[in-house]
């Protein structure tokens, strides 16, 4: 999937990759007085809005919601992790077009660009998720050792995002419709996944269709671990992991096949 040559290129340009991640973080907040605080405030505001609007409606429907924070935790578990997924896909589909100038004029390993996108998204996610964990510990809702079963789930989710981002990113260079389509599709996908609402409120025939939504088992796993302290449903995650790998392989093949042509097209 990744050739040794690519790895060598990445290693040689590690300075560029890390520097870019750092710079993007800085540039986002360099001219704001509150700086990095904003990266926390915006998701916090979103969670607040959803909590205020939906908590009254949902609390009764959320099974095992003894804690007053149960819905907030449920919401955070889904929204924060979805945010990571959505950021990688959204930034990924634009990464080559955004950096067209660099790609056309300077010779550097192009594979750096997806890596920068993923690392940036992980940094943003890391900050907000750490705060969330602090909140969990403070309110006595930390799930204990079970928390670490989130790591493989997170890995599968990131792989799925990378696969989709690579495919969308390369295709978007040649067919700009792809970018527009992905943006719309992601909105539908968000609401078609039980993030804001629990899956239990869905009619049974719709719930059966959830089996076709690869994000549903992943988000479900976060919610199970963080709200109920229960183990993820591994049986449902395996097929998603397989799909994520397939998409990554396909995405990399597409990238390697079209990288040269891409420069001409930009």
């Amino acid at each position: 999937m990744i050739s040794p040559l690519m790895l060598r290129g990445l290693w040689a340009y590690r300075g560029f990759v890390l520097g870019s991640v750092k710079r993007e973080f800085q540039s986002k907040y360099a001219n704001a007085i509150l700086g990095a605080v904003w990266s926390v405030l915006s998701p916090l505001a979103m969670i607040l809005v959803y909590t205020v609007i939906f908590s009254e409606v949902m609390r009764t429907k959320l099974p095992g919601a003894e804690s007053g924070f149960a819905y907030s935790i449920y919401l955070c578990a889904g929204i924060l992790t979805w945010g990571l997924f959505a950021e990688i896909v959204a930034r990924g589909q634009n990464m080559f077009i955004e950096q067209a100038n660099l790609i056309k004029k300077i010779s550097f390993p192009r594979i750096c660009l997806p890596l920068i996108v993923v690392l940036n998204a992980l940094v943003n996610f890391g900050i907000i998720f750490c705060l969330f964990v602090v909140f969990l510990i403070a309110t006595g809702n930390f799930p204990g050792l079970m928390f670490f079963s989130l790591l493989p789930v997170l890995l599968v989710q990131v792989l799925l995002a990378i696969g989709l981002a690579m495919i969308a990113g390369v295709l978007n260079v040649f067919f700009r419709d792809v970018g527009q389509f992905v943006t719309i599709a992601m909105q539908f996908w968000f609401w078609l996944t039980p993030i804001v609402y629990p899956a239990t409120i869905l009619p049974p025939e719709v719930r059966a269709l959830m089996g076709w939504n690869p994000m549903a088992p992943l988000i479900g796993a976060y919610q199970a671990v963080l709200v109920h302290g229960a183990s993820p449903d591994w049986a449902a995650i395996w097929p998603v992991a397989l799909l994520a790998l397939l998409l990554c392989v396909f995405g990399m093949r597409l990238f390697r096949k079209r990288a040269g042509e891409m420069v001409d097209e930009l």
Binding site: G15, S27, K105, I106, S107, F175, G260, E261, V263
Partner: protein
């Protein structure tokens, strides 16, 4: 170390009749290609030996930029390939990717990282980069307050912070103030002395002739000529001057130098010679002695307005002095076919020791691009020697009266 081998290089862009056709080609690979190829570069082969400096010239659209992009690996060739040995630094787009909100120093890091350096390496080179860029406190101010020249300075300093085995320079250097241009050219020369191979793209005659050992002329995506910079530059100039129904001819002049003659041919230089004070025809002239350049022009067709110009160039082809009868306000009108006109230009030979050549141009106006009757390079070659003066350096005789005061 430091070789470039370009073999059978070709580049074509795919053009599709409609947006859908590309999709169709991708989806139905068995139905065959639906694109047509537009060739911008074809069958280009050349080699650059270690330590050699090669100039690349050609009109806009001749394929120079594409060739450089292929050599640096930015774009993939359609046919052929490029092999390089040694480390490469390319000054193609200086200041590419500079972020306006970051300081010069931060951008220097970014630019260095784009060249594959790590932060530590750049930190080690930073004092030297700062010293060469020489923009003082601006180094720690955001790039958006920079002038384009300052941005250039930082970019150039980073790109050349380490001596590469191969240096590829695009016209980038024509930006920036005169002082920095000299400074950057000095650095390139210094690299050359230390053995760096150089590939230089420029329209600037001086730059090519003063730095390069060899020049390559690209025309219409093909390698048109390869040879001595002086000869290629002359050919290139003639090529620009020539457009419709004119041809460039090459004549072997005395001494084995190739003379380029171009033009429509209504008038030609029949004879050209240098005479000393006593009216003696000379080829060797003493520094500072009065001489007369005599040029005999023969008209082969009626000419409404005729201007004769000449340019004295040094051995690298750099202009020493040039003028014409338009600038001297002595153009001639209504020349008859078969008429001979003798021009005499008298001046003191205030040039330093060396060999020089004279190029002539017979035109209708001050530029040779409108009505170019004849353009002749290397029409005359002469030598200046220092026979009576104390030794001095340089190609101009600017003898000072010296006054020294000690207190």
């Amino acid at each position: 170390m430091g070789t470039i081998t370009v073999s059978g290089l070709g580049k074509a862009y795919k053009t599709y009749p409609t947006r859908i056709s590309r999709l169709a080609e991708w989806m139905l690979p068995l139905r065959g290609p639906r694109h047509t190829l537009k060739w911008v570069l074809r069958d280009v082969s050349f080699q650059v030996a270690p330590g050699e400096a090669v100039g690349l010239i050609g009109i806009n659209g001749a394929g120079k930029s594409t060739l450089l992009k292929l050599i640096t690996g930015t774009t993939q060739p359609t046919t052929g390939g490029v092999a390089m040995q040694g480390s490469v630094a390319a000054l193609l787009e200086l200041g590419m990717g500079f972020h306006p909100d970051f300081t010069g120093r931060q951008n220097a890091y970014m630019a260095g990282q784009l060249l594959g350096m790590t932060a530590d390496e750049i930190t080690a080179l930073m004092p030297q980069i700062e010293a060469f860029a020489d923009i003082g406190e601006y180094m720690d101010q955001p790039v958006r307050v920079y002038s384009s020249g300052m941005q250039m300075r930082v970019a150039f300093s980073v790109a050349t912070a380490r001596r590469p085995d191969i240096l590829i320079v695009d016209e980038a250097l024509s930006v920036g103030d005169a002082y920095f241009q000299h400074k950057s050219f000095d650095r390139i020369r210094q690299f050359r002395k230390q053995g760096t191979t150089l590939l230089l793209v420029s329209h600037d005659k001086q730059a090519i002739q003063s730095v390069c050992d060899r020049a390559i002329l690209l025309d219409g995506g093909r390698l048109a000529r390869e040879g001595k910079p002086e000869e290629i530059m002359d050919y290139y100039n003639a090529m620009i001057a020539e457009r419709e129904n004119e041809t460039v001819r090459l004549q072997e002049a005395a001494g084995g130098k190739v003379q380029t003659v171009s033009g429509t041919g209504e008038a030609t230089v029949a004879d050209i010679a240098l005479f000393d004070e006593s009216g003696e025809r000379v080829e060797v002239v003493d520094v500072g002695s009065p001489v007369t350049l005599e040029i005999k022009v023969r008209a082969h067709a009626p000419i409404p307005r005729m201007v004769l110009g000449y340019m004295i160039k040094d051995r690298l082809g750099q202009p020493m002095y040039g003028t014409n009868t338009h600038l001297k306000e002595l153009p001639l009108s209504d020349i008859q076919a078969g008429e001979d006109v003798v021009y005499r230009f008298a001046f003191p030979m205030n040039l330093g020791p060396g060999t020089y050549s004279v190029a002539t141009a017979i035109v209708s106006t001050e530029t040779h691009l409108v009505n170019n009757y004849e353009w002749r390079d290397l029409a005359l070659v002469f030598t200046v020697m220092n026979m009576r003066r104390p030794h001095f350096e340089g190609s101009a005789w600017l003898d000072p009266a010296v006054d020294i005061q000690r207190t």
